[in-house]
C-alpha cells in the first residue's frame, strides 16, 4: 500500500493579487448564468435542478425508507403471521398488533389489527429487517403523511395494505 502525498497548492503572486482568481470565478458563474438562461428560454428540462415538489412528484432515492406497506400473499390475504417480532424490535414502540386464529391451519396465526403510529415511528427500518415472512416493507414512497392530529397519524391495517385510502385529516378532527 502506497501513500500518495498531495502537494498543498502554493499561493503564488498570481493568486495573491486575486484579480485573476476573481475573473476565473466570474467566468464560471457567468457561464452557468448564460447557459441556464439559454435553457430557460428554450424551455429545456435541464435548466435547473429544482424539484417543484407539491406540483411535481418528490424524487426519492432507491434506498429511501418511507411509509410502511403491508404485503399480501398471492391469494390476497395478508402475509403477516402476527409473530410480533416487529412490534418487539421497534425502538419507538409505534407498532401495535393484535393476533387471531387464521382460517388456514398452515398459517395458524394472523393479525386482527395492525396499527402503526407514524407520529412515533423513527423510520429505522428494524421492522423490515425483523420480519421473517417479508410482510412489511418501507417502500410506499409516500412522504405526504402529515396530519392535523396525533390520532390521524395512526395507520391501520387496511390503509397500510392499500385496501382503503387513508381519509384526509382535517384541522378540527
Amino acid at each position: 500500500m502506497t501513500v500518495k502525498v498531495v502537494e498543498r497548492p502554493r499561493r503564488t503572486f498570481a493568486t495573491q493579487i486575486y484579480i485573476v482568481e476573481v475573473w476565473k470565478g466570474l467566468a464560471i458563474t457567468f457561464r452557468h448564468l448564460f447557459v441556464n438562461l439559454y435553457r430557460h428560454v428554450l424551455h429545456r428540462a435541464n435548466a435547473s435542478v429544482t424539484i417543484q415538489y407539491p406540483e411535481d412528484p418528490a424524487v426519492l432515492g432507491h434506498r429511501a425508507r418511507t411509509r410502511h406497506r403491508l404485503l399480501k400473499r398471492d391469494d390476497g390475504s395478508p402475509r403477516c403471521t402476527a409473530c410480533l417480532l416487529c412490534e418487539t424490535i421497534c425502538p419507538a414502540k409505534c407498532i401495535r398488533i393484535t393476533a387471531e386464529n387464521a382460517p388456514d391451519v398452515l398459517v395458524e396465526k394472523r393479525a386482527k389489527t395492525f396499527d402503526i403510529d407514524l407520529g412515533m415511528c423513527i423510520f429505522c427500518g428494524y421492522c423490515v429487517e425483523a420480519c421473517p415472512v417479508d410482510a412489511i416493507h418501507m417502500d410506499a414512497n409516500d412522504v405526504a403523511i402529515t396530519s392535523y392530529s396525533r390520532k390521524d397519524m395512526i395507520w391501520n391495517m387496511a390503509e397500510l395494505m392499500g385496501d382503503k385510502k387513508k381519509p384526509a385529516s382535517t384541522p378540527d378532527a
Binding site: L26, I28, T29, F30, H32, L33, S48, T50
Partner: protein, 348 residues
C-alpha cells in the same frame, strides 16, 4: 445660475423626484428581484416564483411588491432601552444620503427644446463629484446611529465594523478618483462626461482606477463580499433591533448605494450619457431620451456585474477587508495618482 424662474424650479423639483422616486426606487425594487433570480439561475436553481396576482407570476416579479407589503404591514417592534430620537432618525439618514447622491448624478446633458436649454441633471452643481462622495460618506452616520441608539451590544459592534469599513473604503473611493479627475480637469460630472465624449472613455485612460474604484465601491455599499457590518451568524448587524419598514429602509439603502456607485462609475469611467459616434446634445428631445437610455443601460450593466460579483466571491474576513482597503487599494490608488500627475505634466 441665471435667474431662478418658477418653471426652472418646477423642472428641477420634477427632475429630483424623478431621479429618486422613479429611477432610484424602481431600480432598488427591481434589484430585489434581480438578486433572487440572478443568484438562482447562476446556481442552477429557479428562484422565487410563487408570488402571484390572479395566478400570474411573471417570473417572480411580484416578489418585491410582496416584500413591500410585508414590511409596511409588519409590527414595528421596538425594544426597551433604545434612544428614541436617533433610533428613528438613523434609517432616514442612511436612506436620505443615498437618495441625495442619486439626485446629483448626470442622467443626461443639456437638451435644446422649445427654444430653451433643459439640463437633464437633477442637481446641476459644479462640484458634483465631491458632493456625491460627501453624501455617500454621510451614510455612515446612519449606520453608527442605528447601532448606538438601539442599545444593543451586537448592534453597536456591527455599527463599529460598519464605521471602520466605510471610512476605509471612502478614502479609497476618493483617492482612486483623484487621477481621473485630474485628467478631466474638473469636479463637475457634466464636464467630465463631455470630456469623455470629446476624447475617450475614462476606463481607457485609467483602467487601474476603474478596478480600484469598483472594489472600493463594492465595499462602501456594505454588500457581500464586504457585508461585514451585518454578520448573520455572529453579530447580526447594526440593524439588529430594527423591524418592519425601518429595517426595509436599511435594505433599500444598500441598493441605493449600489445604484449611486454604479452611476458614478458610469459617468466617470464609462462615458456617462454619451454614445460613441452620436452627437446627442444636437439631437433635441430624441437625444435627451437617448442620453437617459444610455446612462440607465450603463448603470444597469454595472449593477448586473456587481450582483454577479456579490454572488460569486466568498465573504472577506474583517482584517482582510481592512488590509485590502488600507494596504492595497489606497497605496495603489495614490501611486496611480502620482503616475497620472507625471503623465499629465509631460503631456501638457
Amino acid at each position: 445660475m441665471s435667474g431662478l424662474t418658477p418653471e426652472l424650479l418646477a423642472w428641477t423639483a420634477f427632475k429630483v423626484l424623478a431621479a429618486i422616486l422613479f429611477f432610484g426606487m424602481n431600480i432598488a425594487g427591481l434589484l430585489g428581484w434581480v438578486e433572487r433570480k440572478q443568484s438562482a439561475v447562476m446556481q442552477d436553481r429557479i428562484g422565487a416564483n410563487r408570488a402571484d396576482i390572479f395566478g400570474i407570476t411573471l417570473l417572480g416579479l411580484f416578489h418585491p411588491i410582496a416584500d413591500a407589503i410585508k414590511m409596511l404591514t409588519k409590527e414595528n417592534f421596538q425594544p426597551k432601552g433604545v434612544y428614541q430620537p436617533l433610533y428613528s432618525l438613523a434609517p432616514v439618514i442612511a436612506m436620505g444620503a443615498g437618495m441625495f447622491c442619486l439626485a446629483a448624478l448626470p442622467f443626461g446633458g443639456v437638451v435644446q427644446f422649445a427654444g430653451r436649454a433643459w439640463s437633464l441633471q437633477p442637481i446641476d452643481c459644479s462640484v458634483g463629484v465631491p458632493l456625491v462622495l460627501a453624501a455617500l460618506a454621510f451614510g455612515v452616520h446612519g449606520v453608527v446611529m442605528a447601532g448606538y441608539a438601539s442599545g444593543s451590544n451586537y448592534g453597536l459592534l456591527g455599527a463599529l465594523r460598519g464605521a471602520a469599513q466605510m471610512i476605509a473604503s471612502e478614502v479609497c473611493l476618493a483617492s482612486s478618483l483623484a487621477g481621473v479627475l485630474l485628467i478631466y480637469g474638473t469636479l463637475d460630472f457634466q464636464q467630465a462626461v463631455t470630456w469623455q465624449g470629446a476624447h475617450v472613455w475614462g476606463i481607457v485612460v485609467q483602467p487601474l482606477a476603474f478596478i480600484l474604484f469598483l472594489t472600493a465601491g463594492a465595499a462602501v455599499t456594505k454588500r457581500a463580499p464586504f457585508d461585514l457590518p451585518e454578520g448573520e451568524s455572529e453579530i447580526v448587524g447594526f440593524h439588529v433591533e430594527y423591524s418592519g419598514m425601518k429595517f426595509g429602509m436599511f435594505l433599500i439603502t444598500d441598493f441605493m448605494e449600489s445604484i449611486v456607485v454604479c452611476g458614478v462609475i458610469a459617468s466617470l469611467f464609462l462615458g456617462g450619457w454619451t454614445i460613441p459616434g452620436l452627437d446627442l446634445p444636437a439631437m433635441g428631445p430624441l437625444g435627451g431620451a437617448l442620453m437617459l437610455a444610455s446612462f440607465s443601460f450603463k448603470v444597469l450593466a454595472l449593477l448586473f456585474l456587481l450582483m454577479q460579483i456579490r454572488w460569486t466571491l466568498p465573504r472577506f474576513r474583517f482584517d482582510q477587508l481592512l488590509d485590502l482597503c488600507w494596504k492595497n487599494v489606497l497605496p495603489l490608488s495614490l501611486l496611480n495618482f502620482l503616475a497620472t500627475v507625471w503623465g499629465v505634466y509631460l503631456w501638457r
